[in-house]
Amino acid sequence: MRNREIVGLAAVATAALIFSFAAPSFGQEPSQNPGALAAKGKGKGKGKQRPPSRPTPHGPDGHVLLGPLPGEGGVWNGNAGATIATNVGRGLDNNLVNLPTNLKIPDVPFQDWARALYDSRQANNTADDPHVRCKSSGGPRLYHTPYGFEIVDIPELERIYIMGVGGPHTWRVVYMDGRERPKDIDPSFHGYSIGHWEGEKLVVETTNYNQRFWLSREGIPHTEYLKLTETFERPEYDTLRYIATIDDPGAYTKPWSGGWAIPWNPNDEMYEYVCQENNRDARHMYRGEQ
């Protein structure tokens, strides 16, 4: 097993090297929505106009590039202050991006126990968030963790790796090789993800999640019955349109969706941030007089 891991890592590194030399083949087709997509919301940020974005970048295989162009830096910012269900007032209710959100909490189809758990987590100011204990953050929680994330598509391996900064050195893998979903997989923080392209859109379906993380920073619960469908689109260079559809008959009465327009930060890159290094926050979380 150890040798397989080493071989696997070597393959990733080799493929990444090959990928990095493929710059001349990369192209940027004209964007249908150039300009300030994320700046026209009704909430925070209203009235701010950022410079026009470059168009959506594409790789040699024609698929949308979800990372930086070769030779460039940058990282997806991560909407750490956002919530997955209720984006109103946070500059993300942008009809140009057309997120299926702007729900009020009463609109989320919680089962009673799930709503009670959500309310409890909110009442405690999210003090019990597993992320604060440096547990890995699965599903949407990964994308609104501070300090950003990167999506690394390696077509030669038919895999996409998604790596986050602000956690316990977190990464997840999306298999793009058309495989069948294996049976009898143990539940895990990032589940088992199989993806495919639908035109300009990356679609990822994931099952086999454990319950040891929160689905979002504000405390949206889930169960091991969760089937998460995520879509990743890049309508322009500077914006990632992320939508998560939560189909969890263990916690909700019907599927529902939330998402974000995640901005690109061209001035930063991934860096080492190991949450476990000196995490003192868990012991300081306050839940009132005990």
Binding site: T126, D129, P146, Y273, R280, D281, H284, M285
Partner: protein, 133 residues
């Protein structure tokens, strides 16, 4: 050198580079935004590590009793963007800390800014105060 506890009168002045930043935990779960604090003390230890930098100061109260306080700041990366270096403050340095008290009642707070007493340099603490969970 005599140190003294400053009156807790609220955060004053504009704190350079102290704009709210995002942390990996809820600010409100740990600190009471209604309890600002300002203390002057001597650095006893600096943990320049993720997920948050911690530093410790000895503070002498008006009766002469010394207590050791812990203060949290943002992660090293964010502090470095705000002008900090790992060596900016070290054991023995005298500092003035403006921040927010912890809810648990301990000698612990979140630093919004730190002023180095020997130079007057004031740096933001990359506090996450003001952000939602």
């Amino acid at each position: 050198m005599r140190l003294r506890t400053f009156a807790i009168l609220g955060v004053t002045g504009v704190l350079l580079a102290a704009a709210p930043l995002l942390a990996h935990h809820s600010f409100a779960a740990e600190y009471d935004a209604k309890k600002p604090i300002e203390l002057k003390g001597t650095i006893t230890k600096v943990d320049w590590m993720n997920p948050h930098v911690y530093f410790y100061i000895d503070v002498k109260d008006d009766s002469g009793k010394i207590a050791n306080w812990a203060f949290e700041m943002g992660p090293p990366r964010l502090l470095e963007r705000g002008g900090w270096k790992k060596s900016t403050m070290k054991e023995g340095d005298e500092v003035i800390v403006s921040g927010t008290l912890a809810k648990d009642g301990g000698k612990h707070g979140n630093a919004r800014s730190v002023t180095l007493a020997n130079t007057g340099q004031k740096l933001g603490g990359a506090s996450s105060e003001g952000t939602i969970p």
